[in-house]
């Protein structure tokens, strides 16, 4: 069947490895970059204030980072497809309250069921988001902005001025977030495993690669026959479910749950995702990067606290770092594209 052509323009010899995957290498550098920043931060802070590396301090940071990291995992899936889920904070809040109620000593609902309930609540809202975005062809920014409001509104109506206090839980609920293995919180390990699974899934399964395709060029994705509606729907469903799960963890971590739980989390999560190297327009980035981004932001908060920097400076620094991260990303990406074009022009790639 194969008819060879008149002599090939150039011999089909393999292209030297050194010119391969320039882009991949650069992008991996991006993730290594944040890890490097993280390490530097920890090292410098620990040098100035050894208290920073206290086991209890590390645990606190890790648990906080866990919650954000979990949210970042779900958000990354959505952002990769060139969408955004702004409702995660509200979903977390309502799930936290509902599950806190369930976990009260009065009801005595077993822990696994509480988790399932959280997942279920989040999944329900995620499905609604997903249906509206996928079927309704409405921009996700607008849809999830609306559900952010609506879910928070429902939360406020249900909770009113009430709150759940730590004393009302059965003990194992609260201790769950404090449990550790060799000094590392169970939760952190669990989330790390989830992130690893997410990373693997996005990398090695067709549906994962299709998410990147959808974000990279939606028109091409459609023409390639990728089931866009289904994929995007699934990312919102997962993001919602994860937010619901995070709500359970949140209740366990903070104990007191009122109607303000999770407020403004969505923007923090997006910040973590962007710092972690996920392009806001989709098509590239990894969940590992996003999780490290979440960890980095929490670490910085903790470091500033430990160093005695007035907590007043936290937010400003976080904002500044976010801007710095995207500026650097931009500079790298511009240089990369220019060099790729030059290569392409100079020889047959």
């Amino acid at each position: 069947m194969t008819a060879t052509l008149a002599p090939a323009r150039e011999p089909g010899s393999p292209v030297p490895a050194s010119s391969r995957r320039l882009a991949e290498r650069v992008f991996r550098i991006r993730e290594l970059g944040i890890v490097a920043v993280l390490i530097v931060f920890v090292a410098v802070t620990a040098a100035i204030q050894p208290r920073f590396l206290n086991s209890s301090n590390i645990q606190f940071v890790l648990v906080d980072a866990t919650i954000y990291g979990l949210l970042a995992l779900g958000e990354t899936l959505v952002v990769i497809t060139r969408n955004v889920d702004l409702s995660v904070g509200s979903v977390l809040g309502i799930s936290a309250f509902a599950c806190a109620k369930l976990a009260s000593a009065a009801h005595g609902v077993p822990l696994p069921v509480v988790f399932l309930a959280g997942l279920g609540i989040g999944l329900g809202f995620g499905v609604i988001n997903g249906l509206m975005v996928a079927l309704g062809r409405v921009p996700s920014l607008v849809v999830t902005l609306a559900t952010l409001y609506i879910i928070r509104g429902i939360d406020v109506l249900v909770v009113g001025g009430g709150q759940v206090v730590p004393s009302s839980y059965y003990p194992s609920f609260l201790s769950m977030s404090k449990a550790t293995v060799l000094g590392v919180p169970d939760l952190a390990i669990a989330v790390a495993v989830l992130v690893a699974l997410g990373w693997y899934g996005l990398r090695t399964f067709r549906s994962g690669r299709e998410l990147y395709a959808i974000g990279s060029n939606p028109d091409a994705a459609r023409l390639a026959g990728i089931p866009m509606g289904r994929r995007v729907f699934t990312t919102f469903a997962i993001s919602g479910a994860i937010a619901g799960l995070a709500g359970v963890l949140w209740a366990s971590r903070y104990g007191t749950v009122d109607s303000t739980a999770g407020t403004s989390y969505e923007l923090q999560v997006i910040a973590a995702v962007v710092v972690g190297g996920v392009a806001i327009f989709g098509g590239s980035g990894s969940v590992v990067g996003a999780a490290i981004g979440a960890l980095l932001l929490q670490t910085i908060n903790s470091a500033l606290y430990v160093l005695g920097v007035s907590p007043n400076w936290d937010q400003a620094i976080a904002g500044f770092l976010l801007i710095l991260a995207i500026v650097l990303d931009r500079i790298i990406s511009v240089r990369l594209t220019a060099s790729l074009r030059r290569r392409s022009a100079r020889r047959g790639t």
């Binding site: 955004v84 509206m132 079927l135 309704g136 062809r137 409405v138 921009p139 920014l141 607008v142 849809v143 902005l145 609306a146 559900t147 952010l148 409001y149 609506i150 928070r152 509104g153 429902i154 406020v156 109506l157 009113g160 109607s259 403004s264 923007l267 997006i270 910040a271 962007v274 806001i280 327009f281 007035s310 007043n312 400076w313 936290d314 937010q315 400003a316 620094i317 976080a318 904002g319 500044f320 976010l322 801007i323 995207i326 500026v327 931009r330 511009v334």
Partner: protein
Amino acid sequence: MELEDLRTRLRAVSRKPDNLRRVLRWETGLVVVVIAVAILGSSLSSEFFTANNFFNLTLNNGEIAIMALPMTLIIISGEIDLSVESTLGMSSALLGVLYLHKLPMILIFVIVAVVGALAGAVNGLLVTRVGLPSLAVTIGTLALYRGIALILLGPKTVANFPATYTNVGVEAIPHTDLSWSMGIFIVLAVIFGIVLHATPYGRSVYAMGDNAEAALYAGIRVKRIKTSLFVISGLASALAGVLFTFRLNTAVQDNGTGLSLDVVAIVLLAGVSIFGGKGSIAGVFLAVLAFAGLQNALLLTNFNQEATGLVTGGLLLVSVFVPNAAMFVRYIRGVASRAARRTPEPALSLPRKDT
């Protein structure tokens, strides 16, 4: 090339009414909404149509309304500014701190305005010169400016501003029932309306929102105009911050938290497309009325204040689904008819390795 041609041509044909008519359709819908809100309000409470209530209505929403004007232009131009609430907060904190240091109020106003403009300029430059997406940048400045407010004021609260200023929170414009902030909004709305709809500057904003590259090739100074839009947004947010502070007679670092999304919601409600290139100031005016009216009606019925977000969210959803409804119905019909017509696999396909 031809494929694209036909595709957009057909889309254009199916949206036969030209721009003006389409815009009027949305505005008419909003008028209906405003009337519905008015009816709802008066049925929920006999107090709704009182002068006092009208004043309260305009009082509580003046700042958001003012910020919605430059936000409209920014969204039409294809960008977004989520940092407005923090610029408001930063201005409020600055006002408080400078007042504590006993600076003359006029000087304070000038400084606050300059800082607001600078805040906007930072956004604008990051977007136009560095080429960053405005969503990401303004999420960053949202945090940064709030952080600066926190640094400036810490946990302190500054109150006891001179009565001449705090009167904006108490008195209406003489001979009317309008609050000062709403009065300012109306004047600004007229100015913005003229600029957006009838000047080359406004036309350029529409053009760059639809196709920034074509605008550039037509000699429009896209970078300059976009930067100016963000600067204006910063100034408007600073003004809103001053009004907000005087109205509540309180300067505290978290003034304005959560307002950015309110402003965006109003602008989207007004029929401004999140994709850029479409929208009108008349729509913004009506949306402010609808939004304020609804908030107010709920307030009167002792509906939980925090939960009014429910209503904002609902309105937002309606505002995006209604125009898509027709398309959606056609889509569903298409899916149904295709499902009905399912035929067996065509004979042409060759065996594949991996099925």
